[in-house]
Symmetry: C2
Subunit: 328 residues, 2 copies
């Protein structure tokens, strides 16, 4: 076991960045002032996400592999939400000087496992000390074949679709917070190891009929509100259509929490929400179901502006996760 | 005065990102899942730097404008070190929920002031809460006309050059730490407001004779060691050639600290160190002096491998700033 204090910054970088996948366009990877990519004529997508101990994760629940995996997954998910392909990642890590290097190897193992699935190259980053807890910052770069799918393209008349079972991660977090050790594994996993929906996003992004898309990171209402606002449309959710799984129902029943509230306002599912023109929605969903095991469900409709969200026709304010209003 | 708790994440983003320069290639800026850039066939440079309160800055010495400016400058400096042009930036900000929004406006003012000088576009970022102190992560993207200048190109026989007066920032930090209120302003400014040497880096990077380059962020010995290691060469520094300014000399004399140690091991100057073939060094330096007011000085020579650093012929281990060995 060796502590970072003895290990040194550069030994650490070497240890953590062995055996990495390297894309052909990477002219220069880790180890210089900058990474160098030989770009072609293409659309490049950029996103970054901060990931702080006791805000975004807790070490008592999450293994270092979980923490690394989820940080990478959350960043990758932003690329999926535009219908792009993830290509490169930079990881800035700040950690207390007495952190065990084996812990960080495991954390990077989690990052690599999320990256390797998508053949993403780690091209750079930073390592520094932190006076309080672990801090990760993930920068992800992707590319898009055609026009990326933005939040601003929703049109009145569109149907609203969502993948998977939103709210699962929030119920998983509830179970961890309340020591519900008999909670369904699928809920716990939804919170600790959310899979970014890369292939699904690429498929939906490639379909001309998908007019707007976002990943559900802050909660369905909050994230759909972003589409409504950017597109200048109203959106109505039909709660009878919400894809609440058997496990969500069972857990909600046993604990008295609302599976519907979790589905509408719970964050960190990293499912994809999108709007699709009604003429072609049926065929798109059929094709989606042929290609993927993940369910996709139509949960509502897009109406004219002004921008707003209604649930079963009743106006709602976006009440998802706001990092400044509630410290978790 | 409004606290972030009431302000909300999205109100904050709007407040902080008004009136930004936007490059023509930016298809989509802040406000979607990703930023979108229309790349051409070109080399793109990527770097990221974490910037933590009480590690990289202290609020009691640095104004919010200073903190933002320096965080951006440090990131931009990595692009200068490759001879590139800075183009885009993403800023991830984590701050305590009771932070005053006016404080953050001033901090972003500092970031913008560093970016505007270089016509860099802020294309994205993240805002989240932090349980302990401010955390910034700066991701910078640049482009290079020809081949970027790497650390690995130094050749035996090259001369070692450096811009400015390395060690000034370390002496400025010493003055702040020891309450030396009569310390020369130029030293304090070197620590609080280091100017990234963008034009100088672009000039040196465009010169065929410059074989390797790095920015002096961890201290001259440490950073030259990176060149030595990557290039497989030895490097000797002649201390009589170190460009120690009158202000450095005076401050060192008054306080009993060593200006030479500061020049060799002090970090955060963001000067540029490079190696240049001896045949053309004279002409390059003449042209540099015609274009810039910043001095440039030859301080040593490159010899054959194995990789190593000597100071006046005596072997030295790189003893610059290592974030894990000393928490500042």
């Amino acid at each position: 076991m060796s502590r970072l204090k003895e290990f040194g910054e550069f030994g650490l970088i070497e240890l953590l960045t062995r055996n990495l996948h390297k894309d052909n366009a990477v002219t220069l990877g880790i180890g210089d002032d900058c990474a160098v990519i030989r770009a072609k004529k293409e659309y490049l997508l950029f996103s970054c996400d901060a990931f702080l101990e006791d805000v975004h994760f807790r070490r008592e629940w999450a293994s270092p592999e979980d923490i690394g995996y989820k940080a990478a997954a959350a960043a990758l998910s932003d690329i999926a939400a535009m219908g792009g392909t993830a290509r490169y990642m930079l990881v800035a890590l700040a950690c207390p000087p007495d952190t065990d290097s084996a812990y960080l190897e495991r954390l990077y193992g989690g990052i690599k496992s999320a990256m390797d699935t998508e053949r993403v190259s780690l091209i750079g980053g930073d390592t520094t000390s932190s006076p309080h807890g672990l801090v990760l910052n993930m920068t992800v770069i992707g590319s898009a074949q055609g026009n990326p799918v933005c939040r601003s393209g929703a049109r009145p008349g569109d149907l609203i679709g969502v993948t998977g079972h939103p709210g699962s991660a929030a119920l998983g977090l509830h179970a961890l917070e309340h020591g519900e050790s008999n909670a369904p594994e699928v809920l716990i996993k939804a919170h600790l190891r959310p899979r970014p929906k890369m292939m699904e996003g690429f498929f939906l992004g490639g379909a001309n009929e998908v007019n707007a898309m976002i990943d559900v990171s802050d909660g369905l209402l909050q994230d759909l509100w972003h589409i409504a606002e950017r597109s200048g449309v109203s959106m109505n959710i039909d709660t009878t259509k919400l894809p609440i799984s058997t496990e969500q129902k069972d857990y909600a029943h046993k604990t008295g929490v609302s599976a519907e509230t979790a589905a509408l306002s719970g964050g960190e599912d990293y499912e994809l929400a999108f709007t699709v023109s009604p003429q072609t929605a049926g065929q798109l969903l059929t094709e989606f179901n042929l290609q993927f095991t993940l369910p996709v469900t139509i949960i509502g409709t897009v109406g004219k502006g002004p921008a707003g969200i209604t649930v079963d026709g009743a106006p709602r304010t976006p009440e998802g996760f706001d990092h400044f209003q509630e410290l978790k």
